[in-house]
């Protein structure tokens, strides 16, 4: 298993030299805006789009010429694309930590979960669960990569997903959850359009309670 870096409070220097050099050349009196710009670059770099570097470079160029606010406020088409890259990455992180269900294996002190990711958000998601459940080891499966979090370190292991078989014991608490959800469900308030807005369709298969109501 390969040990990988733990992001330090999302405040890492940007990983490409080109981006670092570009940022160094921006002189901004507005420290807050510069920090936000770096933050956005950090997330945009985690996007799966191979063209992201071109968009980020152009955003840095625009920031140099027209100011950081011009980019952060999404005035140009490229600035909008740049911020959309960051937004999509942040969105995936939020959805994964909201909709991924964990299965406890108490004899090993492990919480296990599985999800599909498009972007490179696995470490961010690991960080979230490691902070939330510091007494447990976190084991998450993202496609063909397994991530293990223990002792404040994250380990990544390449696997063939089909070889993984995990015992799925009937969970009484899942039943309680569905009973609770059923008791709170108000048919008059069922609003599929809003549901799709809050939980995009591609995530429905992970949300147990939606299946129960014939939605997922």
């Amino acid at each position: 298993m390969k040990q990988i870096s733990l992001f330090n409070q999302l405040d890492l220097p940007c990983p490409t030299r080109q981006v670092q050099a570009g940022l160094a050349s921006i002189i901004s009196a507005d420290k807050e805006a510069l920090s936000k710009f770096k933050h956005e670059i950090f997330f945009a770099l985690l996007h799966r789009d191979p063209h992201k570097y071109r968009v980020i470079d152009q955003a840095i160029q625009e920031a140099k010429e027209k100011g950081i606010s011009y980019v952060l406020c999404k005035i140009s088409d490229n600035a909008r694309r740049f911020r959309n890259l960051a937004r999509q990455v942040k969105g995936e992180r939020i959805r994964a930590i909201s909709f991924m269900r964990l299965q406890p294996f108490d004899q090993h002190g492990v919480l296990f979960g599985e999800f599909e990711l498009k972007h490179q958000t696995a470490e961010l998601i690991m960080l979230h669960f490691m902070r939330r459940f510091p007494r447990y080891r976190i084991l998450l499966l993202f496609g063909e990569e397994a991530y293990l979090g223990k002792d404040k370190q994250i380990y990544r292991h390449k696997i063939e997903a089909r070889k993984i078989t995990l015992p799925k014991a009937p969970d009484e608490f899942e039943k309680y959850w569905l009973a609770f959800y059923r008791s709170q469900f108000i048919s008059e308030r069922k609003n599929l359009r809003y549901l799709k807005q809050m939980i995009p369709k591609k995530y429905w298969k992970w949300v147990t309670e939606l299946r129960e109501f014939g939605i997922g």
Binding site: G67, L72, C73, K74, A79, I97, R101, F133, F173, E174
Partner: protein
């Protein structure tokens, strides 16, 4: 904690005169179920509420015990919203405030007269506003970092939007309320309201829109525009209604309008307004596409803006002059009243 309740509120499915099976949890049971669901990532936090079993004090004591188990036995550090039941003694509110992030008292109705129509055993001032005062004191002490909230049942007692908004504005100003929730009345089986017509969910939505205007768009309550029946328009959202009613203020020049004025333009929210205001320090807007990129809803904003002195659309594209005149004559701004609790 339980669906058993000694109260007999006319709108509520759990009212004591409704004959159905009652059930409930022991504090330890509820705490364990919650923590197990939390561990499985089904839940982000807990919103703890209950029917009133025996007395408000007895039930609140059990709710607080549940929270103590969560905080001290299971070391749960996440979010807790604790409902404060009507008639809860002050010492229990103080204890609850030590454990919760947010507390709430449900007013259900906007004033004492309306409350009497749906829950005649509750005293609006003594049982509901007084606990709110105690919660407010806890916030002033630095507790309850997420503040306090309330909820109204919309339409159960025939109240108007004017009454609801007036009370809501008063709560924001005088009680430091964080936010109000509106729940459109849906008649439940086994209540005296069975068979009555449900309130359209669109009315609830319009109330939330008006509420957002007061909280995030710097609207004063008397800037909200109502129809003759003292309700918000169902046809247009409250901000559009404001703009149509105050046509003389529009169109506004995007490159000159101040932040507060930008917030008044339909299709421009607090985020877009902030971006326009920030971008203008280094940039002059010349094209409507730039506004679209930064997140403004152009279709709505167009009739109300100028870019470099150039109009982008006309109100006539939305309604005819005749419709506009009719609209003008049939709407009025929310009137001031000496007390928010007077009936409209």
């Amino acid at each position: 904690m339980t669906n058993a309740c000694k109260n007999d509120c006319k709108y509520c499915v759990n009212r004591c005169s409704h004959d159905f099976k009652r059930t409930g949890f022991e504090p330890e049971e509820l705490a364990r179920i919650f923590i197990e669901l939390y561990r499985r990532n089904y839940l982000e936090g807990i919103f703890l509420t209950s029917g009133v079993q025996r007395s408000a004090a007895y039930t609140m004591e059990r709710m607080i015990t549940t929270l103590e188990i969560l905080r001290f036995k299971y070391h749960y550090r996440g979010y807790v919203h604790l409902k404060v039941l009507p008639k809860t003694p002050p010492d229990l509110i103080e204890r609850g405030a030590q454990l919760a992030d947010r507390m709430s008292v449900n007013l259900e109705s906007p004033n004492p007269d309306r409350l009497k129509m749906i829950a005649d055993n509750k005293d609006f001032m003594l049982d509901l506003i007084e606990p709110m005062n105690i919660i407010q004191k806890q916030i002033q002490k630095g507790l309850l970092k997420s503040g306090h909230t309330t909820q109204f049942v919309v339409g159960a007692a025939g109240e108007t939007d004017a009454e609801l908004l007036r009370t809501t504005a008063w709560l924001y100003k005088s009680k430091a309320l964080k936010r109000a929730y509106f729940s459109a009345f849906i008649p439940e089986e086994g209540t005296p309201f069975t068979g009555q017509k449900a309130i359209p969910l669109l009315r609830e939505h319009r109330l939330y829109q008006a509420d957002w205007l007061m909280r995030f768009y710097q609207f004063k309550s008397d800037e909200l525009v109502l129809e003759k029946n003292q309700n918000l328009s169902l046809e247009f959202d409250p901000k559009m209604v404001y703009a149509l009613k105050n046509r003389s203020r529009f169109p506004m020049e995007i490159n000159k309008a101040n932040y507060q004025d930008l917030l008044k333009i339909p299709g421009i929210g607090p985020l877009s307004a902030k971006r326009i205001w920030q971008a203008r320090k280094e940039h002059c807007f010349t094209d409507i596409k730039e506004l679209k990129n930064l997140g403004a809803v152009i279709k709505r904003a167009k009739p109300f803006i100028l870019i470099n002195g150039k109009a982008q659309g006309s109100i006539k594209s939305m309604m005819t002059i005749k419709q506009l005149e009719l609209f003008q004559s049939q709407t009025s701004q929310l009137a001031h009243q000496s007390s928010p609790f007077l009936l409209a």
